[in-house]
């Protein structure tokens, strides 16, 4: 069977099926699969990305449980693998996480550090293939079809080299899923985390899926799952017993997609210009609040985070959105269109402040969020100045200077006074 050693990157065209160690270096990280060198759609997912960046930047955290997330009322954004062993999961409320893991080191997310690491990883992905579709800061699809002649190596080898380079050069580990379409590649990358490399071949696709839960399908959440269960569908095998028309009749447009996915068919292409629909950030308060000054401080920090991410990904937005969640969990959103797209924190902040002003004093609130939507490339943003606000041009120059200082001396090197409120 074709095989590959992830440590020494030696390729074996045929290795006995029972081989467990690399005949070349003796390492145990051997992958063998009949279709290993024939598959070219991959999904790369960093392992506990935020927590790994924190551990890399502060080696004293290496053997401690680390949770990245906000405040006591916030939720876990990422937990490192040590914390995960104790049962901590992403999106878990922080108080619950701390109950499971009281000795955890909790770190507030440092958006710009993650964005910087993401940019470095992105550069490595771009070197592999022009068809990179980032899903977030820490995961992306890659279509490596036709790159073998260019790299003089099959996709599997280049992917193994990629994760090895991420570890040695950036100090960050990732897991690879390799298959023949996006749906299966994404499932595969999750099979063997962390530092995983999983392959789902064409021949085994149907058998592999048969007993898996339909929950694996992207877009099948609790509600759809319940609807499927009412129809007696739990696993892919259940799903496969339905014919295409019956599924379409019962589940509408998505039904046909289910029929395809039940057979491991996914025709979506890896789209390199895939843009997010929005870029947003929010914060949940330790205690419900209606304190205008405090909320405005949050608005500034959130605007800065949104701006950091927009700048990191080369994007901008035409619409600024403000989100407020009341103490009774009622959600309010307000949006305003800007006259030109922006990625600048100052512009986002001023628009968000304008949206917040009429709502001030109507709280208390448990959450506040800021976002950009109607996303466009940065090249179309911030092209012109405002006749009526000559100060804006100066503030934007100051922001660019601030960005340059932070890039050199770190994110805390220079901050605005209102960021301290």
């Amino acid at each position: 069977m074709p095989a590959l050693c992830r440590d020494c990157l030696t390729v074996f065209d045929a290795l006995p099926d029972r081989a467990r160690r690399c005949p070349a270096c003796g390492g145990p990280r051997l992958i063998s699969h009949p279709e290993l060198f024939d598959l070219s759609i991959a999904h790369m997912d960093c392992d506990a990305f935020y927590a790994s960046v924190e551990k890399r930047d502060d080696p004293s955290l290496a053997d401690k449980p680390v949770i990245v997330g906000g405040g006591r009322r916030g939720v876990v954004s990422t937990a490192c693998y040590i914390a995960r062993i104790r049962g901590v999961r992403s999106a878990m409320p922080m108080f619950q996480a701390l109950k499971l893991c009281p000795d955890a080191v909790v770190i507030r997310p440092r958006g710009s550090a993650y964005a910087a690491a993401s940019r470095q990883i992105r550069a490595m992905l771009d070197a592999l293939t022009p068809a990179v579709e980032p899903l977030s800061l820490d995961e992306a699809f890659l279509d490596m079809t036709g790159t073998q002649r260019l790299h003089h190596a099959p996709p599997a080898v280049m992917l193994a080299r990629l994760v090895r380079a991420m570890e040695t050069e950036l100090g960050l580990s990732g897991s690879i899923g390799l298959s023949h379409n996006k749906f299966l590649a994404k499932i595969a990358s999750d099979l063997d985390k962390p530092r995983g490399f999983s392959v789902i071949g064409r021949a085994e696709t149907e058998d592999f899926l048969a007993d898996k839960s339909v929950r694996l399908i992207w877009g099948v959440g609790a509600a759809t799952q319940e609807a499927l269960e009412r129809a007696g569908i739990r696993s892919f095998a259940d799903l496969r017993r339905w014919d295409r028309k019956a599924l379409a009749d019962r589940f509408g447009h998505g039904g046909e997609r289910l029929w395809d996915l039940a057979r491991g068919i996914d025709r979506r292409r890896v789209r390199r210009d895939h843009r997010p629909k929005s870029i947003s950030n929010e914060t949940t308060f330790f205690q419900d609040t209606d304190d205008r000054e405090l909320l405005e401080g949050h608005l500034w920090r959130l605007s800065e985070k949104v701006s950091d991410r927009a700048k990191a990904t080369g994007l901008a937005g035409r619409v600024v959105v403000l989100k407020l969640k009341r103490a009774n969990h009622r959600l309010l959103t307000r949006r305003t269109s800007l006259w030109q797209a922006t990625q600048m924190a100052d512009t986002i902040f001023r628009a968000a402040l304008g949206l917040y002003a009429p709502l001030a004093g109507t709280g208390p609130n448990r959450l506040i969020g800021v976002g950009l939507s109607e996303i466009v490339p940065a090249a179309e943003a911030d092209l012109s100045e405002d006749l009526l606000d000559p100060g804006a041009a100066r503030r934007l120059r100051a922001e660019r200077a601030t960005d340059a200082i932070r890039a050199r001396f770190g994110p805390e090197a220079i901050i605005k006074g209102r960021g301290l409120r």
């Binding site: 269109s337 006259w339 012109s384 006749l387 009526l388 606000d389």
Partner: protein, 372 residues
């Protein structure tokens, strides 16, 4: 109420009323037009609570009275009636129905009581004057394109009409800006307007007003107070609240030291801008102007879709200049020029540019460049 009225007269009156009515209404009565018949005339009144229009038309009134019906439905009916038809409107005051009859067609419309119809409170106008329709038409037509739609800067959502010092004496001035371009249009100050307070006339009012200004011979009676403005012809009275806000100090935005002068045939220029902008699919299409020795090269470079270039012979003898603008903004200001050449005055590629028609300073435009 029982009246007969000629279809054409009725259509004109109802059309004006129904355009004020908001299409999506949460208050039912605001979707209606108030019809009042008295003497030898009938009036149609509609409002969105910010603007009120009253249109008076001659009619044969058999029985005076008043009622309200859906403005849109009445307009649609009258529109579909044959030209020259005589239309009869009648209600008995008790059934809550208005009967519309013309030829062999009969319509019965639901009414709402006239007492429910909100009539705009009267105001003491501090200034009353009269201006010929063409004067007001020029003031508003040449400025309204620059009105902002930005909700956060609501005080820019209209035309600032005020009295100011012009180049040769006091003028009636209209200014509109959205922060990217600005239009400042002057007219001779009509007698009686000297004491007029400056008011921001909302966009919708400007659009409604436009319909009163079609006929060159009409004199428009203008009344202004701190909170309201009224424009009236013998038939139509348009009353509007003004925007409650402070218009920014626009004078400091208008560049005075721009010396690099370009003179170009405005329509030739506009057509060239329009042509080169075709290749860009971006919403804010940027056009680059490169100027040197009586030569203007317009170009657009859109990495995703293509590039375009066009050369124009112009009058320009200053040093070489490259400057970018939003194509739409350039087109809009160039299309304001109708008699002479467009004169652009530049400073640098980052500073506001001024445009006027020939040597005429009674209409000037400012546009902010963009990075290209």
């Amino acid at each position: 109420m029982k009246i007969s009225i000629e279809r054409g007269t009725l259509l004109k009156a109802v059309a004006q009323a129904q355009s004020v009515v908001e299409r999506r209404n949460t208050i039912p009565i605001l979707a209606n037009v108030l019809i009042e018949a008295e003497g030898d005339a009938v009036s149609f009144r509609a409002t969105d609570l910010d603007i009120e229009v009253v249109d008076k038309a001659p009619a044969v009134v058999e029985r005076s009275g008043a009622t309200t019906v859906s403005a849109v439905t009445l307009h649609e009916i009258v529109r579909k009636l044959p030209d020259g038809a005589l239309v009869r409107l009648a209600d008995d005051g008790t059934s809550g129905r208005l009967v519309v009859e013309a030829g062999r067609s009969t319509f019965t419309l639901a009414t709402l009581p006239r007492e429910d119809f909100p009539v705009m409170a009267t105001t003491d106008y501090s200034s009353n004057f009269s201006a010929p329709a063409p004067v007001l038409r020029r003031l508003f037509d040449k400025s309204k394109f620059a009105i902002s739609t930005e909700e956060t800067r609501y005080y820019l959502n209209g035309v600032y009409m005020h009295v100011s010092q012009g180049d040769s004496g006091m003028v009636l001035r209209c200014v509109a800006t959205d922060g990217h371009r600005l239009a400042r249009i002057d007219a001779d100050l009509p007698p009686g307007a000297e004491t007029m307070p400056g008011v921001i006339v909302p966009r919708k009012t400007v659009n409604e007003l436009r319909k009163l200004l079609e006929d060159d011979k009409t004199e428009i009676a203008v009344s202004v107070s701190e909170t309201k403005v009224r424009f009236a012809t013998p038939e139509i009275t348009l009353t509007s609240k003004v925007i409650d806000g402070t218009f920014p100090d626009y004078a400091r935005v208008i560049p005075i030291g721009n010396t690099r002068k370009l003179e170009v045939d405005a329509s030739e220029f506009a057509r060239a801008v329009d042509r080169v902008a075709t290749v860009s699919s971006e919403r804010s299409r940027a056009v680059k102007l490169a100027l040197e020795n009586d030569r203007l090269v317009l170009s657009v470079n859109a990495p995703d879709s293509g590039a375009a270039e066009e050369e124009l012979l112009v009058a320009y003898d200053d040093e070489r200049l490259e400057i970018g603008f939003n194509a739409k903004y350039l087109l809009e200001i160039a299309s304001q020029v109708d008699r002479e050449n467009a004169v652009f005055l530049f400073n640098s590629s980052g500073d506001p540019t001024l445009m006027r028609e020939g040597g005429d300073t009674s209409a000037i435009y400012v546009v902010m460049p963009m990075r290209v």
